[in-house]
Symmetry: C2
Subunit: 163 residues, 2 copies
DNA sequence: CAGTATCCTGTCCGATACTG
DNA sequence: CAGTATCGGACAGGATACTG
C-alpha cells in the first residue's frame, strides 16, 4: 500500500492497517470467520467482483492471514483458510461489530454476538487479562515501548496522560 | 464510499467500515486519542497532505465521530474533538494495537498499552460483561438479530456454529 | 467451479502553491 | 496558523468476457 509520506511505520496500528487497510479485506475475513473457504462462497456472500476477490485473497495470503490450500489435484481447486494470524484478528471484528451495532443501527440490531449456549446477547468489553480491570482511560494508556525509536519516544513523551 | 454491488449493508461491520474505511481515518482517530485537536498537530504527526487531512476531518465530522469547534472568533480557528461516538471507537484501536504488536513487530514493541498507575504492560482481551467470560469461539458466536432481513437471517442460519 | 484477462472509472492520496 | 485550490499518479474497485 505504499504511502510515501507516512513517517510513522513504527506504530502497530499503522502496521496492522497495512495488511487489512483495504475495505474488502476486513469483510473477507469476516466471511472467513463465518465459515467461507471457497472462492465462490466469498463471491456470492460479498457481491465482490472476481478480479478484486482474487487480488484481496492473494494479499491476505501474502500477509500471512490466510492460507491457500489445494483440496483437489485434478482439477486444481483451492480453499482459503485462516491462519493463526488471521484468527487473531477476531477481536478487531468483535470491536467493530459492537461499535457498529451501538452507533449505526438505528432500526435495531441485525447481527448480534451471543453466548452460544444460552443465546443471551453478549456485551463485549476489553479488560486487562493481567489485572482483570477494564481497559479504559485514565486507568490505561499507551506509551513508547522498548523498541521505540527516538521519534516515537519523543511523541509519546510530549503528552502526559491520555485524554 | 459508494460500493454499488455491496448487498450486505445490514452488517454492522460493513457499516462501521463505511465511516472509517479509509486508511487515514483510523490514524487520525488514533492521533486524536493521543491528544491532537488542531489541524497542524494532525498534519505534523501523520505527515498527511493538507487537502487529504481536510477531507478526512470533514468526513469524520459528517459521520459524527468528531466535532468541529471554533475556539477563536477572529481569526476563525477550529479544533477537532472526539464525540462520544468517536470515543467509543477506542476498543477497535486497542484491538488493532494488540494485533499489530503480536504479529508485526519482529524487532520488539514500539508502542505498548500499560496500566497507567503501575506502568505494567497490559494484555487486552475481550470478555462478555454480562457473564464475565472471555469472548472466544465456540463459547460465543454471531447470529441474526431482531432487525435482520430475510437475506441476513438465511445467511446466518446456513451455518451451524462458528468455526 | 475457480478463477484469469481486460478495460474502465472513481477517488484516495501526494505534492505544491496560495491565502486571511 | 488553518486551511483552500489545483494538478497528477496510482490503484482500488466494478463490469464483463473468457477458460480448463
Amino acid at each position: 500500500m505504499q504511502r510515501t509520506s507516512f513517517e510513522d511505520m513504527q506504530c502497530p496500528i499503522a502496521r496492522s492497517l497495512e495488511r487489512v487497510g483495504e475495505w474488502w479485506s476486513i469483510l473477507i475475513l469476516r466471511d472467513a470467520f463465518l465459515g467461507s473457504t471457497r472462492f465462490d462462497q466469498f463471491q456470492k456472500n460479498l457481491g465482490i467482483a472476481p478480479n478484486m476477490l482474487t487480488r484481496r485473497l492473494n494479499g491476505l495470503v501474502e500477509s500471512g492471514l490466510m492460507e491457500r490450500r489445494l483440496y483437489s489435484e485434478r482439477p486444481p481447486r483451492s480453499e482459503y483458510v485462516l491462519t493463526e494470524r488471521g484468527r487473531d484478528f477476531r477481536p478487531v471484528l468483535w470491536a467493530l461489530l459492537a461499535w457498529g451495532n451501538k452507533h449505526f443501527s438505528p432500526e435495531g440490531k441485525s447481527v448480534v454476538l451471543v453466548d452460544a449456549e444460552t443465546g443471551v446477547e453478549a456485551d463485549p468489553v476489553i479488560i486487562d487479562r493481567i489485572s482483570g480491570r477494564p481497559v479504559v482511560p485514565p486507568d490505561f494508556t499507551v506509551v513508547a515501548g522498548p523498541a521505540a525509536n527516538e521519534n516515537t519516544k519523543r511523541r509519546y513523551a510530549e503528552r502526559g496522560s491520555e485524554k
